[in-house]
Amino acid sequence: MLDAKAIKKDFPALNQQVHGKDLVYLDSAASAQKPQAVIDAIVEVYRKDYSNVHRGVHTLSERATRHFEAARETISRFIGAQDSREIIFVRGTTEAINLVAHSYGRHCIKKDDEIIISEMEHHSNIIPWQLLCEQTGAILRIIPVTNSGDLDETAFKKLCSSRTKLLAITHVSNAIGTINPIKALIAEAHRHNIPVLIDGAQGIMHQRVDVQDLDCDFYAFSGHKLYGPTGIGVLYGKTKWLEAMPPYQGGGEMINQVSFEKTTYANIPHKFEAGTPDIASVAGLSAACNYIQQVGFEAIHQHENALLHYATEALMTVPELRIIGNPTERAPLLSFTVEHIHAHDLGTILDHAGVAIRTGHHCAMPLMKRYGLAATARASLAIYNTQHDIDVLVEGLHKARGIFKR
């Protein structure tokens, strides 16, 4: 079992007070805090080995390039890719999905083709497809969500057809925590020759992801939710797709030869990495992967699941509190409402108890609409959270009810 108290000490930002109370950070699904090891990796780059990459023969440039490509290897192993050339560095999940929409979209999608997403997607996995459909005349198909918060798999099967050119689906719902059975969904899609993009923003940090085992065609995730830096994320793509796809952004580093008559492009992954990349954040992300692997996914899973169980029971003791959804499998996050108290007010009141939760629509407006809600409060758990954190949350919720029941 994992020692969350010891782990917490690795995260400097967690050791502070807010409104005179010890900080209880339950907003890791929005962005996780960073262990000192990640901060150190970034500082190390800037203090020692800093230079632009891929362009120079001098020592600093060579070291920077070597570290950069070694990080790609580390991350490639972290998700079980076959080849590190399948790892494209992007800003985050949002950019990864936009890259696919733009490049795979331009390559493979035309009028009347269909793209399947679901009702529980984050806006980042909705709008790129809406924009693509607007531009191409393709049609967006939506897998409905059941009352429990699961995907309606029967409906999904009916949507699959020879017109379907892509399934883009979230691994884990950031709004209500549903873990989708992505391996089965991928297999089903592949039976219809439909390639699959997984939005892994909320999946990558809670369990070991093995892209070869999943057999997904694309997997997108953000560093900042994985205890890594901001500004960096990854698009994993199978070689066969990446090689076939046209470039995304044009610029330095993604070319082979440039002339006004004819420009040829570099091989993958560089074809998709125009311009100077976020060198320091790549080092930080690599450090984050190493940190997580040291903690171990088995321990993480055990700890987070136990804590989720504890939190679920604890929240259910709060009168008039309703947990949204009851999916078959849930990641360690809970979305809830308290009767007569708007989520925003809960957020402000909890903040005064030192508790940071997220409130609002969680960039998942269609799912909110499906549940007839404008906003929920969301508590999300990470490796550094403890039962005590949950106790403080629950205490704060009672306080909030007190304020509204005067």
């Binding site: 108290i341 906003a375 005067r406």
Partner: protein, 159 residues
């Protein structure tokens, strides 16, 4: 971080969530549609998805009646409720001046002479210590401006 020191205690919350505010949020005045409305507008707070529709009945540049519908937090609902109370019977110009005074109240540190004209609205003063909530308190007011301008597009609280 200095601006947080003064709200270091949990009790400060009661400055924000005064009984009057809770009352207005739970029993808002002028809540509902206004069939005879001459002006209306929609407001959105993209941060939380809260929406509000404000209706005005204006005759001879005077706001004869007002009402609102929608869904929001205690602060935004109370603010909308207090807004309708305050503007009914006022001329358009007076309403605009009220907006200015209110905006001052909840965004600036110093008290101004204009605070006098605010009446009951003064109880929202505590919001200024909660920068993330200022938009909740101003949603109704931005919507009022949009209604007076007769905007067809929803107005947002974004900067």
């Amino acid at each position: 971080m200095n601006d947080y020191q003064h709200s270091d205690s949990f009790d400060n919350l009661f400055e924000l969530y005064q009984e009057v505010i809770i009352d207005h949020s739970q029993h808002p005045h002028h809540f509902g549609a206004l069939p005879q409305a001459t002006h209306h507008a929609e407001g959105v707070n993209p941060l939380c998805g809260d929406t509000l529709t404000l209706y005005l009945k204006i005759e001879n540049a005077v706001i004869r009646d007002a009402a609102f519908q929608g869904h929001g937090c205690a602060i935004s609902t109370a603010s909308a409720s207090l807004l309708t109370d305050s503007i009914i019977g006022k001329s358009i110009d007076e309403a605009k001046r009220l907006f200015e005074a209110f905006h001052q109240l909840i965004t600036s540190e110093k008290e101004t002479a204009a605070d006098n004209m605010l009446g009951k609205l003064i109880i929202l003063a505590g919001v200024k210590n909660y920068p993330a909530r200022v938009k909740c308190a101003t949603l109704a007011w931005h919507t009022l401006q949009a209604a007076l301008r007769q905007d067809a597009q929803p107005v947002t609280t974004e900067a």
